[in-house]
């Protein structure tokens, strides 16, 4: 799934890996802002991965030429693009909700000492 002689696939894979690593790293910090940023990076990593699942080759738009009955050879696979569009929208919604939730949680628990009956002796 790579263009012979170009490092595109390699660069792409490294980018996705780097985004995954930094996203997870940020999410494991004990800081709510970094958590959201990390979640965003993770979302980008996943979206790029899904996008690449149709293959990274230079192709034509998947449109049937006038007069032709079928698609010409070397057209892009439109499905991963549709999938990634849906995933971006859903991920964006989830991220906005996460931001609002964390803000509300910070406001609500400001000054309290955490979980009152979390199984620990009172």
């Amino acid at each position: 799934m790579n263009i012979p002689g170009t490092p595109l696939g390699f660069v792409f894979a490294m980018t996705v890996g780097f985004l995954f690593a930094s996203g997870l790293w940020l999410m494991l910090r004990r800081n709510r802002v970094k958590l959201v940023v990390g979640f965003g990076l993770l979302g980008h990593a996943v979206n790029l991965l899904v996008f690449s699942s149709g293959g990274l080759v230079p192709t034509n738009a998947p449109l049937i030429a006038s007069g032709a009955e079928t698609l010409a050879a070397h057209t892009a696979d439109p499905l991963p693009q549709a999938l990634v569009l849906t995933a971006i929208v859903i991920g964006f919604g989830a991220q906005v909700f996460l931001l609002v939730l964390l803000r509300a949680a910070t406001l609500a628990t400001a000054g309290s000492a955490g979980d009152p009956d979390d199984g620990s002796p009172e």
């Binding site: 799934m1 999410m27 958590l35 979640f39 993770l42 979302g43 996943v46 979206n47 991965l49 899904v50 996008f51 690449s52 699942s53 149709g54 293959g55 499905l79 991963p80 999938l83 849906t86 995933a87 859903i90 919604g93 989830a94 909700f97 996460l98 939730l101 964390l102 509300a104 949680a105 609500a108 628990t109 309290s112 955490g114 979980d115 009152p116 009956d117 199984g119």
Partner: protein, 504 residues
Amino acid sequence: MMLTPSHLLLWPFTIALFCLALGRRPFLQRAVSLAGSLVALIAAVLVFWRVDDGAFLIEQMGSWPAPFGISLVIDRLSAVMLVITGFVSLVVNLFCQSPEQRRTQGRDFHALFHLLLAGVTGAFMTGDFFNLFVFFEILLLSSFVLMIQERRPEQFDGTVKYVLLNLVASMAFLVGLGLIYNGIGTLNMADVGRLLRSSNWSLSTSAGFFALFFAFAAKAGMFPLYFWLPASYPRSPIATTSLFAALLTKVGVYALLRLNAVAGPALPPLYLKVLIGLSLLTMLLGVLGAASQQEIRRILSFHIISQIGYITLGLGYMTELALAATVFYLIHHIVVKANLFLVAGLLDRIWGTTQLARIGESLKLSPILGLAFLIPAMSLAGVPPLSGFWAKMAVLQATLEAQDFLSLGVALFVGLFTMYSMIKIWLEAFWKDHPNPAPTGQLLRPMSTSEKWWMGGAIALFCAWTLAMGLGVGPAMEFARRTGRDLMQGDRYIENVLQAREAR
């Protein structure tokens, strides 16, 4: 007019919109919501009757033939899940009608309730993995908001854990979808099944399969990703917890069941062994966690985890008997768990707390309440003739059939400990003297007659289901057997979906 899958799917969305629009007219909103649940149940039962003779109800969205468009498929498993979803939604909805529950519900509670059900309904009938992802997100987002409806500070902590774990699991789900698409070039469940069976698994396919398993297992609350469940469930409003306990983890289990069924004989043996091992650990750690808790809702939350272990154990054997046991256990467990949480809600209403140390004497207050707890509790622990006994027996039969004596021992041990937890609740909440002797036999706040009827009626309906499933085990088990056979014959599912050109 014939019912098609899309009717069942559009119905809860429509009801949710109406509930949203009627936000300022609470009485009308509740009436619409209740009627919506009732009609959804009736429609599910009608569909169930049509599907139970072995037919498939298949609809291709936009009339695109199977691997290209999105298919909605209702087979026996989907149909029974839809019926149980309708039943739970109706009964929990009845519980929500009681004046005390109404007081704490936000204005958009019923809209979110039906949106959640729409997500669950869609997840149970979709025939496309990406579509499954979309329905997961619908039900997750509604569940996030339902969980913090009351906006009490102590609810946020657990909700943040719940939201994060589920969002990360959704990411893993997407990763799995991308890798599987890269590997075999389709996401239609039937087509994925066909290609997994007929071709060698590439690295991409295997990694994608594992990512999907990870996502579903996390959502089902399997070991080692179950910590979010006892952190979040006990704090939510009780009707919400009851609904979540019944349906949300089970959607994860259903997805696992579907994944296993479409891949069928192509499943790697190592994966099945890992599945059995994780199930045993889930069972054990859940039940041991429950034993250390002193608060009813926390005990019950840990028991969800341990019972998930029983349900997924059958998936690891992939025989007709084991899958039948899984299906039977699923149907039994959804109702029993929802019922126990409703009883906990009633105790909370009576005593103002569910800490075992601070309550007692409930039996003296109301012997009927004691019976209402005993039926689901003994069913959960597996006492004959209640449904839990037959469910456990089917699982044990499956372990015997596979000659897996380790799993047999663990399952029996966990059953014993479940009994211990239930007896603990019984002794503390119902039997012992109330620690504060002054208000003997007196309610903290008096309950009105209508409140007793709404809450009691809901619990009674759940108890009736448990009893019916226990006493009428013959037909119920026969049905589970038929479903298990269906799931073993994944070829039939694949052929039917791929050949169906249009819904009839």
